[in-house]
Amino acid sequence: MSTTTITEVAAIRDTGRFRLLRSRDFPLVPVLIILTIALVAVFADFLAPHNPEVGKLAARFKPPFWMAGGSMTYPLGTDQLGRDMLSRLIFGARVSMVVGFTAVIFAGVVGTTLGIISGYMGGWVDQAIMRLTDAWLALPALTFAIFLAAIVGPSEMNIVIILALVYWTRYARIVRGEVLSLKEREFVRLAVVAGCSKWTIMRKHILPNVMNSAVVLASLMLGVVIVAEASLSFLGVGVPPPKPAWGLMLSDGKQGLMVGYWWLTVMPGLCIMLMVLSANLLGDWLRVKLDPQLRQL
């Protein structure tokens, strides 16, 4: 027996906690990228060499260190106000992570709750929630988010609430579908016979069983939400300046593009790209691994 087959047999028998992590197609690079960005976001205060919001006007438009005129004081150059790009990118990771994760979780909690209630209760409750979901889904998400952001005014908290408001419907739809089939399963029926209340059943028996789908969906939504936040910031209705958000940095750097200050746009753009690409790859993988029903998504 060759070594490969031995490991394969071992992999099949292996049902331990880290089974998923050891599978052969595990998207290691995307996960490492997300973890790195997350760590950078957490330790931004220690990592950033300069204050991201205050610059020296004397040091405007310094190029990255490998170009003529660049120095290691500002490894990735400076922007139009003389602020250090590296520090702004590091703190920008925090904004993206905080907004991305909280919005996805907010939307997930609202959508999953409504989906469970809708699917389990049935009847007019189901009708009401599903009609609301359908109506909401019919609206153009990004345009609607832009409108809401333009009215309530820019702030990180508002962006989180708006993105959650716009994106909860996807969870509600899928979770409801799962609950409809779970409801007919033996263990739920037995719980009813045992005299559990509806709330207990929904919380203790239904919720744990829809968590897989919710997590897969959340990972797929992460990329969408981060692009949405960057788009709002790019249009000036997202995270307000001088806070360093990647979308805002791109938009600020736009003017410098024509005169060759490429690093102002390319660097935050690359950060967004890496983040979204990793989130999508991880989401795709989780979808195939955890949730056969979502493979068609």
Partner: protein
């Protein structure tokens, strides 16, 4: 059939109702709409006049009815910045949006359909992998980043294409590509899965058993049927493109509806923002309704199933 259409129509009305209610209440809950409806720095008297003119001192329900009646009359208010009715502005910008969307759509189909077919016919091949990467990038790269990279390459370094504005065929190339890539990826994925489904069907097996060459099986039998869902999606996407182009139009200063929305936001021109969002929402709700009805006409399972 009539019942189905009626039901779908009611759902669409419900969507529009929700849209209008959300817009209406959000504006009023989050602050005094008079500050949004007057130009920045308006005097107390101006604000009081607005209050009276739009009945902002009356009960909310009455206000909502007033808001809806003016909407139905096609009155979306007056733009502060341009000093013209929002409706006129919208109509003057729509042709630009349509042009951009049409070119982006053509591009997304020309790339998406052939690459989807190749990926399905030669599954696991080099071209399949290239297609997968192309699709993944298209779905992951934000359109503004694609746009800015293209400006950097084609306008700043190579000097081949104009970086912004409109007027010549050259102006439309970059915005159409930046807008179309995402949709090309979507069309490619759908073509691929649709082709795979058709290729596994009985009549394709029969065509092969008859001894038809591979080229004919793909071109004459499989392709036509696989195209139906792709073209449906393309129809919906065309309307979406008109309404989601705001970022691309901002990057390239393309004078379409998206740019109008952006100007509305930056000049605090609230009637313009509200008008563009309402009309965009109505357009998308309408096209969804249309697709539902067309599908029900074609496929009886859909109308009977619901």
């Amino acid at each position: 059939m009539r019942q189905f259409v009626l039901k779908r129509f009611c759902y669409s009305l419900l969507s529009l109702f929700l849209l209008s209610v959300t817009i209406f209440f959000f504006v009023r809950v989050t602050g005094d709409p008079a500050t949004l409806l007057t130009e920045p720095g308006a005097s107390e008297a101006d604000i009081a006049a607005i209050h009276q003119k739009f009945g902002l001192d009356r009960p909310l329900v009455v206000q909502y009815v007033l808001f809806m009646t003016s909407l139905f009359r096609g009155d979306l208010g007056q733009s502060f910045y341009y000093q013209t009715p929002v409706m006129d502005l919208y109509w003057s910008r729509l042709p630009h949006s349509l042009l951009l969307a049409a070119v982006a759509m053509a591009f997304s189909l020309i790339i998406g359909i052939p690459s989807g077919i190749i990926a399905a016919v030669r599954i696991g091949s080099f071209w399949d992998s290239v297609g997968k990467v192309f699709a993944l990038l298209g779905l992951s790269l934000p359109s503004f980043f694609i746009g800015l990279l293209m400006i950097l390459l084609f306008s700043v370094y190579l000097g081949w294409l104009p970086s912004s504005g409109s007027g010549t065929p050259l102006h439309v190339i970059m915005p159409a590509f930046a807008l179309g890539w995402y949709f090309a990826a979507a069309h490619m994925r759908l073509t691929r899965s649709s082709m795979l489904e058709v290729l596994g069907s009985e009549y394709i097996k029969l065509a092969r058993l008859k001894g038809l060459p591979q080229r004919l099986v793909i071109a004459k039998h499989a392709f036509k049927n696989a195209l139906i869902p792709v073209l449906t999606l393309a129809g919906i996407n065309l309307v979406l493109m008109i309404n989601v182009a705001v970022i691309v139009e901002t990057v390239f200063a393309w004078p379409g509806i998206g740019r109008l929305l952006y100007e509305g936001i930056s000049f605090r021109d609230f009637p313009v923002v509200q008008g563009v969002v309402i009309l965009g929402g109505a357009m998308i709700v309408a096209v969804n309704l249309l697709v539902d009805i067309v599908y029900a006409v074609i496929d009886p399972r859909i109308r009977l199933g619901s």
